[in-house]
């Protein structure tokens, strides 16, 4: 079957989709967006978390056909998503502040040169919240949505919001640091 939907603001079309395929498979194998990760494919790890019409969901549990006509944001679109949010001004984060946070991105890695990171992405790098990185995309999407909803979360709020995202490397401490850091930078930026 054919599925049409929007990913990171761009209309996408996938052809010859097997009816049992998940949104995750279509993103990864048909649309060249492997950022969302395939760690458990049973909704028990959060590595495949994407925003579906704004809501964080496990893309492994969305049948591809269910995405028809809907709007998906993946980790690949997180930078743009954050930028649009700050342009919209609804969350009170000015554009230049967002740019300021991302200024270090270009110097960190050749491939990342010129990439404008979302504040949460930069915070994960700065706080040492990335080790193997396989859980990172899902955690970033979930954390970004948390801070959008609750700009000043308590530790217990962070833990609850991220309780659907497993990490095996870090022991979560640096992830907590990263979310706190992003929240603090966000409030400083206002």
């Amino acid at each position: 079957m054919r599925v049409n939907f929007t990913v990171n603001g761009r209309p996408q079309e996938a052809d010859d989709v097997w009816e049992g395929e998940s949104l995750l498979y279509v993103l990864r194998e048909r649309l060249g967006l492997p950022g969302s990760k395939n760690a458990c494919e049973q909704g028990e790890c959060g590595s495949c978390t994407v925003r579906l019409d704004g809501v964080p969901v496990c893309s492994c549990l969305v049948a591809a056909g269910q995405a028809e006509g809907r709007d998906v944001v993946t980790v690949e679109g997180l930078g743009d998503h954050a930028r649009q949010r700050s342009c919209g001004g609804s969350d009170g984060v000015p554009l230049d502040a967002a740019k300021g946070w991302a200024a270090k991105a270009g110097t960190d890695s050749q491939a990342g040169e010129g990439v404008e990171l979302a504040p949460i992405q930069q915070a994960f790098i700065d706080a040492g919240a990335v080790q193997c990185g396989f859980c990172t995309p899902g955690l970033l999407v979930a954390s970004d949505e948390l801070l959008e909803r609750n700009p000043n979360p308590s530790d217990a709020d962070i833990r609850e919001a991220l309780s659907g995202n497993l990490c095996r490397c870090t022991g979560y401490e640096k992830i907590m640091d990263a979310v706190r850091l992003a929240a603090a930078r966000q409030s400083e930026g206002v």
């Binding site: 049992g20 496990c58 549990l61 659907g164």
Partner: protein, 296 residues
């Protein structure tokens, strides 16, 4: 495999009538896992995501007509007052991501004894609204809905439209034991609702019998003990011996198995503990409300 995409409830019923083997999929929590792990290859998948009616709820005089696909996160946030037991149960469902997509219809459709919503529905009192293109709508009392391990009273051509849950007329509680502090399937679960209007207590037990069950003997015992002692009127603390016997009777209502998630013996024990605690919490809350009312 064919993917059916009805745009309305009528179309969905027509599709289900035409293809009774079609597997409905909404939140995908159960169905997609079975497909991803090659446990199931249905001939037809019937997508219910485009049926907007299923995402709506109406609050009536006595009950809430809760659309089958209203996500658990919405129940948690918006129906806390009307359906406190179900809201608490919703909060224990899997992960935030799954709570954003899954609804009670999925729990009812799968009818796993471990489904988190069941004990809360049993305790609150509910009817399941199902429909078919051929025969229209019928209501199935929740007590008659679960017919076996992962079996329910649905006919092959029927779909779940909504569940009508009694609005809380008193405190409700819900507890679930898992071996992790989040994102865990129930080892066993317990729901309890006080119904001061009818002066009754209802219960629900999950994952401790082939189907979700009520602890009827325990309810009868407690209803009698509360009536006898005039507890509903005098608001006294429930005596420990009454609470203990209630807990023992709840444990006795279980018919659990040993499996990888826990032993039968533990399940019985844990249901007893949860029964005693949830009774204490709800009764304290009931007494508190009475005092507040009295003061006012």
């Amino acid at each position: 495999m064919d993917f059916l995409r009805p745009a309305s409830w009528e179309e969905a019923l027509a599709a289900k009538g035409e293809h009774p083997t079609a597997v409905p999929i909404a939140g995908g929590t159960d169905v997609m896992v079975e497909i991803n792990f090659d446990h199931r290859r249905p001939e037809y998948l019937l997508d219910l995501n485009r049926v907007g009616d299923l995402y709506e709820w109406e609050t009536g005089e006595d009950s809430v007509r809760l659309g089958a696909s209203v996500p658990y996160s919405t129940i948690m946030e918006q129906l806390r007052a009307e359906l406190p037991g179900l809201a608490l149960a919703s909060h224990t469902v899997a992960s935030p991501q799954i709570r954003n997509r899954g609804g009670v219809g999925g729990n009812l459709g799968t009818a796993s004894p471990a489904g988190d919503a069941h004990p809360a529905l049993l305790a609150a009192g509910a009817e399941v609204e199902v429909a078919s293109a051929a025969r229209g709508t019928r209501m199935i009392p929740i007590d008659a809905f679960y017919t076996g391990v992962k079996r329910n009273a649905l006919e092959p051509d029927e779909l779940i439209r909504a569940v009508h849950v009694k609005k809380a007329d008193g405190p409700q509680q819900y507890s679930k034991v898992g071996t992790r502090n989040a994102m865990v399937i129930a080892v066993c679960a317990f729901g309890l609702a006080l119904h001061p209007r009818t002066r009754t207590v209802r219960t629900g037990i999950g994952s401790a019998a082939p189907t979700p069950v009520r602890a009827e003997a325990a309810e009868e015992f407690l209803n009698a003990a509360l009536a006898e002692g005039g507890f509903w009127d005098n608001g006294k603390i429930i005596t420990p011996s009454v609470a203990k016997q209630f807990a023992d009777l709840c444990a006795a209502a279980c018919n659990p198995i040993d499996d990888v998630r826990g032993t039968a013996s533990y399940r019985r024990h844990a249901v007893g503990v949860m029964a005693r605690r949830t009774l204490t919490w709800t009764w304290e809350s009931y007494r508190g409300a009475r005092r507040t009312e009295g003061a006012a």
